[in-house]
Symmetry: C2
Subunit: 160 residues, 2 copies
DNA sequence: CTGAACTCGGATGATTGTTGTCCGAGTTCT
DNA sequence: AGAACTCGGACAACAATCATCCGAGTTCAG
């Protein structure tokens, strides 16, 4: 199983934006995280399409969260960037081969698909229970309260 | 997020093997499920490497489960075919850029990685709680007890 | 009102992983 | 001893991801 690499970037960006009071350009976010500016822009577009961030054009423009960080879950970000398709896709093997089941008996997903999708639901539930605000609080604890003030100061306008 | 397509085949094969009393060749399993014989063989090799099935060569050879179906979880099959690498791979973004955290402060995973890996653990736990034997029982219920006898009869030697 | 600079947005190519296939080594039964 | 059947690993084709560029739109300053 593999998750799109852009998910990590998107989560870090949302976490950073939760500490910003003004729109932040994509290039600034890329500099902050040390990643490719052009490619990060692509993922930010995905966040904008999902309605998680709002883009402002022109001078002093950039990206900003559309709602409070406590109202954005990790699942929202993951679905925006990685897509909403389930990891397990049932190809209805039971309807193929010499012992094929008739379509009339396949109104509900097969037992294998049910178990796999149930596991994915557990995964989604775990992600939905954590918000961007929760992440910010955890980072505060990890860094003895030093990380977020430094981040806010840098976003405020510091060049280095 | 995307799961290897071979996982579905592997699960169906394990379910079928749980009903077999003699080794089943890969070609027979491929015919049963209506999939590519050569590619299915590749995934069966992965199951053999993981120790879930044992291969017997020569005439009347094939694959057989190494232990009771109740002792094989869906997680075992998924890890054998899809690999054990976590879906979310932290690239330590926090150590890059102008606000890079010193390595001394990174002895434990960052808050984002902790949350993502916790969600994956929930997924794995859900998969570990279901065994191949559970699947067989569910299919029995879905088909009013008709599927498994037919499967055993076909595996017994029927040509169609 | 005009101009210019800065921003995002979608369209375009390279690279890695997965999918699918083939042939050779080994083993078992005749 | 022979022959047929089995698995096992090595070899291409496809797709999706990763990465990049240039154009459209907007905002602020003059």
């Amino acid at each position: 199983m593999k998750l799109s690499g852009g998910v990590e970037w998107g989560l870090h960006c949302c976490l950073s934006l939760s500490q910003a009071r003004a729109p932040v350009p994509a290039a600034r976010l890329a500099e902050l995280h040390g990643v490719s500016p052009t490619y990060l822009a692509k993922h930010l577009q995905a966040l904008a399409r999902a309605g998680l961030v709002r883009s402002t054009q022109g001078k002093d423009g950039g990206y900003a969260l559309t709602r409070d960080a406590a109202e954005i879950s990790l699942l929202d970000v993951v679905r925006a960037i990685d897509g909403e398709a389930p990891a397990f896709r049932c190809t209805e093997i039971r309807q193929r081969g010499p012992l094929a089941a008739p379509p009339s008996a396949c109104v509900r997903p097969c037992a294998i698909a049910r178990a796999m999708l149930a596991a994915e639901d557990a995964w989604r539930t775990a992600l939905a229970d954590v918000s961007i605000a929760d992440l910010a609080q955890d980072v505060q604890g990890d860094t003895a309260g030093a990380a977020m003030p430094r981040l806010r100061a840098w976003l405020g306008g510091a060049t280095a």
